[in-house]
Symmetry: C2
Amino acid sequence: MSSQTRYRMDLAYDGTNFAGWQVQPDQCTIQGELERVWAKLAGQPIRVEASGRTDTGVHARGQVAHVDWPLPPWLDRKLALALNALLPSSIRVLSLRRVPDTFHARFSATGKEYRYFIDNGPVRHPIERLYSTWIRDRLDIAAMQLAAAQLIGEHDFAAFTANPNREVDGTVRNLRMLSVRRTGHQVVIRAASNGFLYKMVRSLAGFLIRVGRNEVNPEQATEILASKVRTARVPTAPPEGLFLWKVQYANDQRCR
Amino acid sequence: MSSQTRYRMDLAYDGTNFAGWQVQPDQCTIQGELERVWAKLAGQPIRVEASGRTDTGVHARGQVAHVDWPLPPWLDRKLALALNALLPSSIRVLSLRRVPDTFHARFSATGKEYRYFIDNGPVRHPIERLYSTWIRDRLDIAAMQLAAAQLIGEHDFAAFTANPNREVDGTVRNLRMLSVRRTGHQVVIRAASNGFLYKMVRSLAGFLIRVGRNEVNPEQATEILASKVRTARVPTAPPEGLFLWKVQYANDQRCR
């Protein structure tokens, strides 16, 4: 029996000035800021567990994390206000709610969606520069869509990760969605999966961008997948265009 | 007869880190950066003239300025690339073209459009924090629209400027459009006029926000206009939500 209260946090952050999610000595990190603020409220160290790490410079609109609060529960609203008052304006708790101890931000997640934003205008727009990657050459969206269609489904994505040996669960994932869409100067790549390998979304984006520049034939997608070996056809796209958009859970864990 | 070439620049900038448009000693300003870069290319001082100044922290998506280039003309594209290569990424020349000497960024302008962005969600969203003003209380859009409708047309806007004595052309302006629209958590105020007084858009936005919070009755718009006196009912809304969106000219001055 534990007297702790488990809280689920839905988070958004501007990753521009952070060395990613994970706590690291002498670096500003998202987890570091959150743990600092929770510890301040609790008067003791508190561990913040996320659905997964985000890399240096990557943003989030829908990251999920949980903490175990060791004191008598506060009003959720009051606690969220206190957290946001102490956090830098680049990190915000969008919502906070009590969840059963069986809820785990990482292990209960059944899937994730990421979005990758490309500014495909002739000049890198100042207002979008922190939240998109600039590609000057007009991208061939039809070719990108053709390549993306071949990657959807359950595959071994070893060719689309920065380090296949790092994955304890192997390198097979079920890519449920990979779409490419242009609206004016903006191109958005959406990717949803039951799980992503290390730097997998940026590898998919990097590959699709090369296809969109007509540097790689879209038909090569199947061959690259089958090879299970990463080559120069799969660069890692820059972090500033990437947003962790949503984390999916099997059922709504909200307490009533 | 002048051997100069006049160039029109269409500009976008992120005003977050600038003390506004106008050159000021020991401060980063948009005009200061542009004049520094033009002077570097020309090897002599060059004056950059805008359609009008923007205040500290105000952004632009469609500012227009002109310069007189004292050397033999470059290829427009090459000159624009050189300017953008030297400018900070927060300022960009979106397009550059030669115009007749009769074109003047300020005196040829026949109107302007501004947009004011409000993040009206329960939590100040990190990704929008640099480009909108956060108002937590849910705004009453219908009341704001009712107030806005009374301000449209040719009026003396002395009650909606920070300093009526500063205006050499008097304080009568023709407000062609003043609209308020909500899309999800975002509220956008659009204002178009043949000209704006000093801090007029932020005064209109400040007033409309007070109306939207039900702190001021929308019916008071007419009375405030008629009073020609600024009161606490008309605060100046913060600069980060404001964008100079477009400058209108009577006819397209592009050389063919």
